[in-house]
Symmetry: C2
């Protein structure tokens, strides 16, 4: 800070260099989603508080929500997530929407958290939802889309893994357990951060007896083979899904992991989590799952649904740690320098005529020497500089300087736009 | 509403059809700004309240701001405009930025207003700013960019006009007036909405004597010719700017209007307003001007600046009333129908292989008859439907149905992606 005002803590200013990265990240998301036939939607940054009171997690509502009273005495909140909004919108139009609904959005959200690595108060998130379709084909589509997203960023198979599980697998496996399944679920969720001793101790603290502890171990040892021998619909669904994925591109990126929990909020079936394989960044990048009950609970149709949210902060950390962010590169377009002040007016008009065809930035930095202007053009990332002084004017030409090679050539005014476009 | 929750009043849900329009509007803005060498930036939706307390208009701060206390006892506000944020960002980095800075952003804002035509509580706005450059060339560039924007939407010269004025022209012309210049300025701003009698009456109520009233009339009668005879720097600057624009494409769209005021907030030089010429929608679409003092006032460098903001609500009204919104058109890509359930799995895998090349939406609506599926594809805007049943499988083909012509052809699996891409 050079003095003056600061940004709100936990938010980011996107200066052009950061904005280019952000746009590239969003462009990849848009292009993959559109390739699967998903349509974009948008929604307000502010929602009435009621939307979150029942459907968002207690942690969000009680500790993280930016809620306040507006000038009309309404309780409102800045959206902390998109799912309640999507559900609200689908419920409002369900009679007119063609099933299945394939929607995506890229939007910002706010949560009052302690800012840290991978966690800010304002973040962007891609939300992908497939509503009104059940079954393995729908689950598989969303998983394949998640894999395609990671691949669109250039992520290799050894850099990330998608771990999948089924919400009911856990419920039925532990149906006869005496302890609180929510508490046990949370413990399983964080077990990778614990040592074996601490995990065992926390299990004991939950009140599990030896038989129950053995049962937990048995659960965590489940694999694709053992799944097939379990007599539960969830196990069968997962087995079929895994067999199916085994034949796709996504196969090597998707593994079964009975320990994946993803909280206990909306999910009713498939749950999944995308993890970074980097040894120093072993964390969940994003995740999602099936939430078949939500729309009906919100007063809407009894439509099944599956989807996920991909946050930009963890994603950018992932891309940075695996060196997948694009290099800055040259800026396309032309920097029009100023040789003689008397010609600025007509040169600016010339720039204007070229602009529908090619980007032209006109030098406006005062009477700097030519060398300084070239330096500026280079700093701004331009490869080409346009020049037109009285010599070029007399000859009916424009000079084009290539900063990479240092070479300069003359181009006639006639057909100039086309000649420049060919160099973009 | 089909029951359930409502959106916050004065905000919009963008269902895919509305989102396509919004994206098209933003794409035009992005492409024109980039063609002038402007770079995108982004900023948080929430700012510390202090940023607005001094620099935004009293109306915004006292009546329209969404301000509240966060969980850390900070006074914060949802941004009601971009200029204070841009200034904050430029001040923070001025030592490292290359002058002139050409920046644009497309972002959402909130103001607590009574929702109505052209006015909502949440709106989007393009902000264009040229910082660190003074003089007519800079003013002209921004005006030409505004004209280019309107032209990019297909707006014709008889559909809009840009009225320009100079903040100091008014100040110096009325330097010896006894009444409050702010109040007089506001009256001039709204004079077109008043009858001649009411305007005269309100002038009297301000306390103007006959001589002063004649002076106001003389001011409003100023035109390009009379400007030249005035002895004020502002009049000279305006004259030169108008002469200069006279040689550009923008000439026919820009007129001098001494009655344009644009409030009294930041502006120090050129002010302008883009107006709709539609007889039933004669209103300001957007506007801007020069604000040379703001950066320094905010603790930053003494950089001149000029810019404007273009709101999406008034713009969309304009485009709609002049029939300039794009027709929905066909959706690019392919709808993959389901003939036989047993083939769904391998057909979905085929779809996945085609996707990097072309968009493919896979039918997932259950076992509907083929006719229903074609109907759905048509409703979704697809022209082409892909089919692969056991016959096609045996032949190693895929059938492609063109819904526009009704014709169907067979395409071999080999080279299918390229064959489909040729039809996009």
């Amino acid at each position: 800070m050079a003095g003056g005002f600061s940004a709100y803590p936990g938010t980011r200013d996107f200066f052009p260099e950061e904005m280019r990265v952000r746009q590239w990240m969003f462009d990849c998301q848009q292009s993959v989603c559109e390739s699967y036939g998903y349509e974009p939607y948008g929604a307000p940054i502010l929602e009435l508080m009621d939307l979150y009171r029942q459907k968002s997690s207690e942690e969000i509502v009680n500790e993280q929500l930016y809620s306040f009273i507006d000038r009309g005495e309404r309780e409102v909140a800045i959206r902390p997530e998109m799912t309640p909004t999507v559900a609200r919108m689908v419920v409002a139009r369900s009679a007119r929407l063609q099933r299945p609904v394939r929607w995506y959005s890229i939007a910002n959200f706010m949560r009052y958290e302690r800012p840290g690595r991978g966690r800010l108060r304002e973040f962007y998130q891609l939300n992908v939802d497939l509503l009104g379709a059940s079954g393995m084909l729908a689950d598989a589509e969303v998983l394949c889309l998640a894999v395609a997203l990671m691949q669109s960023y250039g992520a290799r198979r050894d850099q990330f893994v998608i771990r999948i599980n089924h919400r009911s697998l856990y419920d039925t496996f532990f149906a006869d357990l005496s302890v609180d399944l929510k508490l046990l679920g949370r413990l399983l969720d964080k077990r990778e951060k614990l040592t074996a001793e601490n995990f065992a101790r926390e299990l004991k603290e939950l009140g599990l007896d030896d038989r129950e502890e053995a049962r937990v171990k048995e659960y965590l040892d489940l694999d694709r083979e053992k799944l097939k021998s379990l007599d539960s619909p969830a196990a069968r669904e997962l087995s079929i899904l895994l067999d199916y994925l085994g034949d796709t591109d996504a196969a090597e990126s998707v593994v079964f992991d009975p320990g994946i929990m993803r909280g206990f909020d909306y999910y009713t079936g498939l749950i999944f989590e995308v993890n970074d394989c980097h040894p120093e960044n072993k964390r969940a990048l994003f995740g999602g799952g099936r939430y078949d009950a939500l729309l009906k609970q919100m007063g809407g149709p009894d439509w099944p649904a599956v989807g996920f949210g991909m946050g930009d902060v963890t994603l950018e950390n992932f891309l940075r740690s695996h060196d997948l962010l694009p290099a800055a590169g040259n800026r396309s377009g032309f920097f029009f320098a100023s040789l003689e002040a008397e010609l600025d007016l007509e040169n600016q008009r010339l720039a204007d005529k070229l602009r529908p065809a090619v980007p032209v930035e006109f030098y406006l930095g005062g009477r700097s020497k030519f060398g300084k202007q070239l330096e500026l053009a280079e700093k701004k990332g331009y490869r080409y500089v346009l020049l037109r002084g009285s010599t070029e004017k007399a000859e009916g030409n424009v000079a084009l300087k290539d900063l990479t090679t240092g070479k300069q050539e003359s181009l006639p005014l006639e057909g100039l736009a086309a000649a420049l476009k060919a160099r973009c």
